[in-house]
């Protein structure tokens, strides 16, 4: 799976969470790094922050699709719960949009569901 989020405190926590449940985790902190990592090693699950230092997180989804990479599930983890953000994510092809911080139990349960 690929976790795209600019804050290392958050990627650190999410990496432990998913690695401890037996997943192989790749982390990217920018749009550019995410597109590179996702293209060379296509993830089954993509967790995505929307605001990245070099642009819009949804750009990662669009670029990966262009490169022929379509994860089983693409989930936007966002700090904004306004209807516009939600619509934008769904329009870009996200499976689901979740408000940070998602309780870990819920996140793990959902991950099982997405990848089933």
């Amino acid at each position: 799976m690929l976790i795209v989020e600019d804050n290392e405190l958050v990627t650190g926590a999410l990496s432990i969470l998913f690695e401890e449940t037996g997943r192989r985790v790749t982390v990217a902190h920018t749009v550019a790094a995410a597109v590179k990592a996702g293209t060379s090693d296509p993830p089954d699950l993509l967790l995505l922050d929307l605001t990245l230092p070099d642009g819009d997180g949804l750009e990662v989804v669009r670029s990966l699709v262009k490169n022929g990479v379509q994860p089983k599930a693409t989930v936007a983890l966002t700090g904004r719960d306004d209807p516009e953000s939600l619509e934008r994510c769904i329009a870009a092809g996200c499976t689901e949009v979740m408000l940070k911080p998602v309780p870990t139990r819920e996140l793990l349960r959902k991950a099982e569901e997405w990848l089933a």
Binding site: N7, L9, V10, G12, A13, L14, I16, L17, E20, T21, G79, R80, D82, P83, K100, P101, P103, T104, R105
Partner: protein, 273 residues
């Protein structure tokens, strides 16, 4: 700026034209100062919005790490360690709620809040709010009265925002009522056109001269450092904003020592914007 004291008075030395010119210059100065203050206010609102976003991120990390430990993913925890970790999680979530309130306030102040209406049961919203406050009610051994009729017709409004309004009012009711006191939630539909909800308590009450003040942003009747009731001071401002977004009304009936009854109305019509 004290305009009144600087208005040129009539006197032997100033002609009518001179006094008029002086007034005009003061007027321009006032307009410029108002524009400047509005600009600063908008900046402050934007700052609040940005800082709330930025505060959420490290909080996310704190809570996620604590939940990983709580669930024993990095090895078993003993009961005392678990208690301590649960404390970190509750504290983090409480802080997150407060940051969320600041963000909602900032969006409201910048007119960025919109309604997503649907048809729902107000009783369900009451149930949801009660569930969130269950442990607090039990801890303070409060008596709870529910005066929501079983056959209350459904409401067409923004469910989440109505829950937010009720949650803020009920949270205050619990907070400002002493141990062993009484709190209640009531609702009635006026002619199917308007929902009237009531949140009451027999707590400390609010002096009539503070009834308008408490709805103002950052207002706390006791704002001293030693105050007993903490919070963002935004709960009622947000409740009022969300009620007004629905084109409803919100008001309080209370006196010092006589408990408080907060009321709000939500027009039950598809005209609500």
């Amino acid at each position: 700026m004290n305009l009144v004291s600087t208005i040129p008075q009539s006197g032997p030395h100033l002609s009518l034209e001179q006094r008029f010119a002086a007034l005009e210059s003061l007027y321009k100065q006032a307009i410029a100062e108002i524009a400047d203050m509005r600009g600063r206010d908008a900046l402050k609102t934007q700052y609040l919005s940005n800082i709330s976003h930025d505060l959420r991120t490290p909080l996310t990390a704190v809570i996620t790490h604590a939940e990983i430990l709580r669930d024993g993913m990095l090895g078993p925890m003993n009961e005392r360690q678990l208690d301590s970790i649960r404390g970190i999680i509750s504290g983090g979530r409480q802080l997150l709620d407060q940051v969320g309130e600041i963000l909602t306030y900032a969006r409201g102040a910048a007119n960025q809040l919109t309604l997503t209406p649907s048809t729902f049961s107000f009783s369900d919203v009451v149930g949801q709010v009660l569930q969130m406050n269950e442990s607090l009610i039990a801890k303070k051994r409060l008596t709870l009265d529910l005066r929501v009729p079983k056959d209350l017709p459904p409401v067409f409004a923004d469910r989440e925002k109505v829950a937010h309004i009720l949650g803020n009012l009920f949270g205050n009711a619990i907070d400002f009522t002493p141990v062993g006191g009484r709190v209640w939630i009531g609702a009635t539909m006026r002619g199917e056109r308007e929902l009237i909800a009531e949140v009451g308590d027999n707590g400390m009450g609010i002096a009539p001269e503070h009834h308008d003040f408490i709805f103002e942003e950052f207002a706390q009747v006791d704002s001293s450092a030693s105050r007993q009731h903490h919070g963002t001071g935004l709960g009622l401002t947000i409740a009022q904003k969300l009620v007004e977004l629905h084109r409803g009304r919100i008001w309080v009936e209370s006196e010092l020592g006589g408990g408080s009854r907060f009321y709000f109305t939500i027009p039950n019509s598809k005209d609500a914007r």
